[in-house]
């Protein structure tokens, strides 16, 4: 770490140059048009990555993903984005290339433990082997899945055509339902030699052998202990969706825990690559469906970066974007706090108080964007529509009751009065409660260095005392103009995560109060500065757009080959990567705490499983 002090001023591109100089035979610049960073010979990857972390201070591996360049050099590429935490600044992008047949890249888990799940994902979806990975197996798909679906030559059961729009829709729209062409029961392929009848999932088999299960325990005096293998989920009502935790217990104490996910997997990224550029926008709503406005924003930023000078975002659009993003943060944190209490056993009273306030914000989203949760509001170059004059409805259905409110007045009341009142009430209600203190203090502790090493993001990271927030570390939109503080807490336990969320809501209110006059000031100005055409093409290149979403850093890595569809569309999902720390945090605690620890991470399965 000593060299870090010697190179304090080098920014990401400076470091790239320094790396080329220092490792001339292993590192070269990525000179493809529209690309950035360096390409590292994968034989030397571990060494160079160690230097990147220790000598140049890029200690936080934010995103790791793969790209299949079939027909564009016919190689696989693994792309890494590393940040300096908590210093901030642009990420260092480095890549390693390998053959498409038997692709192999050394695992970086030793350097960046946060690479764990992401490498497993790349293995699962692309079939890239990561020698040195401690637990390389499928993560989103199950063991009986044939092939690696993100490879460009893999085709899904309902495959119709490489890219949308599909030719069958117009002008000869001969309507059919996908399952007519490929009926249920015939739409699955298994790997060769796969036998469904005596199939044991790898995770289970592994756990069982670790625990010497599968032998006759009762008959063997050596095993008369309290050890148990328990499955929490996938349909446990207290987990946050269809999520499963395999827990190894000794009595009530957790010895080890492994999250099993993918029950909601729909290969969002493959859908994204078949789709048109803007066609992905409504799909991003379905990632973290509690904060769709934030998801929209991240994707818009990524594609706008690619489009470059083709779009110019008007100031009012930026103001509205921040308004939406911060309101989303409040809705999300209200939800997270409400459900944390549910997990602790305060069944639904606190949750409903939170939801009530959240509803008012959703009412505003509904009137502005057209939907409460699936907002689909951002566009490349602005937003969908300006705020409506009035939040009003027309009666249509039987028993419909109408409301009619002035939008600006509503927003003002909401931001200056209603939300602060709710936050204070929540504070009064929960913060001093002895029950919460006794259940939360010292539970699920995540020390700062472990949090950084494991790529934890968002409130999880900040509750461990790391003041890292993308809105400050690598500002986007109009955040530099706005006054707010990055909230941190020192202890990294459940209670601190609760407090970080509570205080972040207060900071969001602070931002929103600054946004209100800006909204008044820019009234009537344009809200869109992009192309209105329905078929946009993005110039070839790559871009990584990221936002500080309520759950942490949400990143979109997109690659364009110059066409109307993304060549690569990857989502760096905070809910997914934050789970890397779940096993660490749960260890040694009681089984009753594990659900609360999970609640403290605040995951949404739509985003985890993608």
């Amino acid at each position: 770490m000593s060299d870090q002090v010697q190179n304090p001023v080098l920014d990401a591109s400076g470091v790239a140059d320094a790396l080329v100089q220092r490792f001339p035979d292993a590192v070269k610049k990525d000179t493809r048009k529209g690309y950035e960073g360096v390409i590292i010979d994968h034989h030397k990857l571990l060494e160079v990555a160690g230097a990147i972390r220790d000598d140049y201070g890029f200690n936080y591996l934010s995103s790791l993903t793969a790209v299949d360049y079939l027909g564009m050099g016919d190689h696989m590429e693994v792309v890494y984005h590393a940040f300096r935490v908590p210093t901030g600044g642009a990420p260092l992008v480095f890549k390693a290339q390998t053959d498409r047949v038997e692709p192999t890249i050394p695992s970086l888990v030793k350097v960046y433990p946060g690479a764990d799940f992401q490498e497993r994902e790349a293995y699962d979806l692309y079939g890239i082997y990561f020698p040195g990975h401690p637990n390389l197996k499928r993560i989103l798909l199950w063991d009986g899945f044939e092939g690696h679906p993100m490879r460009k030559d893999w085709k899904e059961a309902y495959y119709e055509q490489e890219h949308k729009p599909f030719d069958s829709r117009w002008p000869g729209g001969n309507v059919f339902r996908g399952e007519e062409h490929n009926p249920f029961g015939h739409n699955v392929r298994y790997p060769a030699g796969f036998n469904l009848d005596n199939f044991t999932p790898q995770t289970e088999a592994q756990f069982q052998s670790e625990m010497s299960l599968g032998v006759d325990i009762m008959g063997d005096p050596a095993f008369t202990n309290e050890r148990l293998l328990v499955n929490l989920g996938p349909h446990h009502p207290s987990t946050h969706g269809v999520f499963r935790m395999m827990v190894q217990l000794n009595g009530e104490t957790i010895e080890s825990l492994e999250p099993v996910m993918g029950y909601l997997h729909r290969n969002h990224e493959k859908i994204g690559e078949r789709n048109t550029w803007f066609g992905n926008m409504p799909f991003t709503d379905r990632l973290d469906y509690l904060s769709s406005m934030g998801n929209n924003l991240g994707y818009a930023l990524a594609v706008e970066k690619l489009l470059g000078s083709q779009v110019k975002i008007p100031y009012r659009a930026e103001v509205i974007r921040v308004l939406m993003a911060e309101l989303t943060r409040i809705t999300n944190h209200l939800w997270a706090i409400g459900f944390l209490l549910n997990d602790l056993g305060a069944f639904f009273t606190p949750a409903l108080y939170c939801i009530q306030t959240r509803e008012y914000i959703l009412d505003f989203f509904e009137a502005t964007a057209g939907s409460r949760m699936m907002c689909n509001y951002m566009r490349f170059g602005g937003v969908f529509k300006d705020l409506p004059e009035r939040i009003r409805a027309e009666a249509l259905l039987l028993n419909d009751k109408v409301r009619d409110m002035d939008t600006m007045q509503y927003l003002k009341d909401l931001i200056t009065e209603r939300i602060p009142r709710s936050i204070d009430e929540l504070d009064e209600y929960l913060s001093d409660s002895e029950i919460i203190a006794s259940r939360c203090i010292g539970v699920g502790v995540l020390p700062a260095d472990v949090a950084i090493a494991n790529s934890a993001a968002g409130p999880l990271l900040r509750a461990s005392g790391v003041p890292y927030d993308l809105r400050r570390a690598l500002p986007y939109s109009i955040y530099p103009e706005l006054e707010f503080d990055v909230v941190t807490r020192p202890n990294g336990d459940l209670l601190d995560r609760y407090f970080v969320r509570l205080d972040e809501m207060r900071e969001s209110v602070r931002i929103l109060k600054q946004i209100l006059p800006l909204l008044e000031k820019t009234k009537g100005e344009s809200i869109f500065g992009g192309k209105t055409s329905y078929s946009i093409k993005a110039p070839a290149g790559e871009s990584y757009g990221m936002v500080e979403n309520p759950k942490g850093e949400l990143g979109y890595y997109v690659v364009s080959d110059g066409g109307g569809n993304p060549w690569r569309y990857h989502v760096r999902a905070p809910s997914f990567i934050n789970l890397t720390t779940l096993g660490l945090m749960a260890k040694g605690h009681k089984v009753a705490d594990v659900v609360a620890i999970l609640g403290g991470i605040d995951i949404v399965l739509g985003e985890t499983d993608r």
């Binding site: 117009w170 729209g173 048109t276 249509l396 028993n399 029950i435």
Partner: protein, 293 residues
């Protein structure tokens, strides 16, 4: 002191509990009044907010998006009765992210050349993600997002692919559910009529666009309650008072629907009642009568 935090918390719960009863006493007997409803749904409210669906429903705001419908001229339009607005240009089918729109382009039987109206138009409502792109990108204001979210049906394999007949609704319906947006669009079109119709009228030497669904030639149109208009019967032609009460119309339908199928449509008998599977959901709904309450 240990326990004060819990007591403080219980105080909050108690406050919520009490305010709800205070509300109940304050609004005794007026619980279903519109003003009470509006107050309870407003930011000023402190008591219970629950909307007692289906006895009361929150009307959805103008921009609300649900499965789209196709705009046609009003059935009683003196000049273009029932004419489709869609020109089967195919843009909506191309922008639709999940690709759930199928359009059969119309062809002229004499020349065999494509003609600007759809022969068939399907939307698979199971797949539609209510994104609103079709409405946003349609250059002719011909496809719009609906507000009727009560679309449940008994059979997904046949009832969920909506065809042109099921999708088509009169423009007055759109004007009634989204008056502000409809007015804005009319302004952008520079008149009431469809842009292509305006061009044709210009060519024919007529005023490019009429101001509304009235004829230039016969200024007093006969107001006919056309059968297809039943779907939109309770939707007023002009944006009127916010509180349209469709209940009487519904009761009438119900009374008529007791012993035999009351008219054309896809009727099935459910218990003692006849239900038209083709009709929009609001006709099927029963309100709880005062006796049952």
């Amino acid at each position: 002191m240990f326990g004060t935090g819990i007591l403080k918390g219980l105080g909050v719960t108690f406050r919520h509990f009490v305010t709800t009863f205070i509300d109940d006493i304050k609004y005794l007997g007026k619980k279903r009044d519109l003003e009470v409803f509006q107050h309870k749904q407003s930011l000023a409210n402190v008591g219970l907010v629950t909307v007692e669906y289906p006895d009361e429903k929150l009307a959805v705001p103008e921009r609300f998006r649900f499965v789209p419908f196709l705009v046609t001229y009003n059935q009683d339009d003196p000049e273009y009765a029932g004419k489709d607005w869609c020109t089967s240009c195919g843009i909506c089918a191309k922008v639709c992210p999940p690709q759930c729109i199928w359009i059969v382009r119309g062809t002229d039987p004499n020349t065999g050349r494509p003609k600007p109206e759809p022969e068939q138009f399907y939307i698979d409502t199971d797949i539609c993600m209510n994104c609103g792109y079709c409405a946003e990108y349609c250059p002719f204001d011909a496809i719009k997002m609906d507000h009727n979210y009560e679309l449940a049906s008994y059979d997904r394999t046949t009832a969920h692919i909506h065809d042109k007949k099921r999708l088509s609704k009169e423009i007055r319906y759109w004007q009634s559910i989204a008056p502000t947006t409809a007015a804005e669009e009319m302004e952008a079109r520079k008149g009431y009529d469809h842009t292509d119709v305006q061009k044709a009228r210009k060519k024919a030497g007529l005023t490019p666009s009429r101001v509304g669904p009235t004829s230039d030639k016969a200024p007093e149109p006969e107001v006919v309650a056309a059968p297809a208009a039943a779907a939109t019967a309770e939707a007023p032609a002009a944006p009127v008072a916010v509180q349209a009460s469709p209940a009487p119309a519904d009761k009438a339908v119900e009374a008529a629907a007791t012993d035999k199928p009351p008219g054309p449509g896809n009727w099935v008998k459910r218990g003692k009642r006849w239900i038209n599977l083709d009709a929009p959901a609001e006709v099927k709904k029963r309100s709880r009568g005062p006796g049952e309450e």
